[in-house]
């Protein structure tokens, strides 16, 4: 009888853990190619777990599979929030393998990369519809934010009522224009940062804890 009670208690504890409000939320890092999503994901993962998530590159579509880092515990103001960070492939509506040839790539490699990139984008869209609880939308603040992909993706995120933060990345670049990013998405909070240089990461973590904790 004692054994059964013990078993029941441990099952109850396990299901409580599974369905408790304390469950780590899956936060998807989304944005167009080359916005610095993986650099940001690596920065977050290294700061709080010591490990990286994936390789970074200036060649578009370096990330061609969604990668998840589980249980990233972020401490802010004496409290801690735990999230799963999902780094996703950059979203686009077109992939032309010839663009990769400009990066000294053999044709065969460029074709393979473009095939993998298209699969990656489809995968990212699937994650967005099914598997994330919140979104960090990363933009290169030196680029024009008024693009169709940005408009559509933010619209898709809004239609799912997911909490979203806009990250204006690459503020270390001279051409960076954070105000332009903020004015493109006035309905959301924009946080400036340089994931590469680690600039303004305190505010980044404050906002992550506030929005996704």
């Amino acid at each position: 009888m004692g054994l059964l009670t013990g078993l029941r208690d441990s099952i109850t504890r396990a299901t409580d853990r599974l369905f408790s409000a304390e469950d780590p939320k899956r936060i998807g890092i989304y944005g167009p190619p080359n916005a610095g999503k993986t650099t940001l994901a690596n920065r977050i993962a290294r700061d709080w777990t010591g490990d990286a998530i994936g390789p970074e590159s200036h060649v578009p579509h370096e990330t061609r599979r969604a990668r998840r880092k589980e249980g990233v515990e972020i401490e802010r103001n004496g409290k801690s929030v735990t999230i799963d960070v999902v780094d996703t492939p950059g979203v686009t509506t077109k992939v032309d393998y010839e663009e990769f040839l400009e990066y000294d790539m053999e044709e065969e490699d460029a074709v393979r990369r473009s095939r993998e990139a298209t699969e990656g984008v489809a995968e990212a869209m699937h994650w967005l519809r099914e598997d994330v609880d919140g979104v960090i939308y990363v933009l290169d603040s030196a680029e024009d934010p008024f693009t169709q992909v940005n408009t559509m993706l933010v619209g898709i995120i809004e239609s799912r009522d997911l909490p979203v933060l806009i990250f204006a990345n690459k503020i270390d670049l001279e051409e960076s224009n954070v105000q332009r990013v903020a004015s493109a998405f006035p309905q959301h909070e924009t946080v400036p940062l340089s994931a590469l240089e680690g600039e303004n990461m305190d505010e980044v973590y404050d906002k992550i804890a506030e929005y996704f904790g």
């Binding site: 979203v91 686009t92 509506t93 077109k94 992939v95 032309d96 393998y97 074709v111 473009s114 095939r115 298209t118 699969e119 984008v121 489809a122 869209m125 699937h126 967005l128 519809r129 008024f146 169709q148 408009t151 559509m152 619209g155 898709i156 809004e158 239609s159 799912r160 009522d161 006035p186 309905q187």
Partner: protein
């Protein structure tokens, strides 16, 4: 699915660009995948597809996903899609969306990525350059 009549398209050697302007009424009642098929079949043929009332965000998400699965390094390299950017005034409230009042009606232009180039876009004007195949 309602019948999509065969357009009397000119032969390829006529060298023109076909533009299909699809009314909201025509798309009404179609399933999401039927709408996406109409769009992508047109774009695969090198046509410019203009939707009077656009797609829902969910449908846009699926359009991107299906487009990706159909990209072929030997031919089709994706789509260019343009709608007017959403202005604050059009922002529908959560309550509105729950009540089914989501306003997705926005003119949308879709074409083959290698044939259409957006020259200018603002909240009231989309200007695009369309070239032949």
């Amino acid at each position: 699915m309602s019948e999509m009549p065969e357009a009397t398209a000119p032969t390829d050697d006529a060298g023109g660009v076909q533009i299909d302007l699809i009314s909201g009424e025509r798309m009404e009642g179609l399933a999401s995948m039927e709408k996406i098929r109409i769009i992508l079949d047109g774009v695969h043929d090198g046509n410019i597809v203009i939707l009077e009332e656009g797609l829902t965000p969910e449908e846009e998400s699926r359009l991107i996903e299906v487009t990706m699965t159909e990209i072929d390094p030997d031919g089709f390299n994706g789509i260019e899609i343009e709608t007017y950017p959403k202005s604050d005034a059009q922002d529908t409230s959560l309550l509105g969306r729950i009540m089914g009042q989501e306003d997705t009606a926005k003119l949308t232009v879709i074409g083959p990525a290698n044939q259409i180039e957006t020259l200018h876009k603002d909240e009231t004007l989309i200007s695009a350059l369309v070239s032949r195949k």
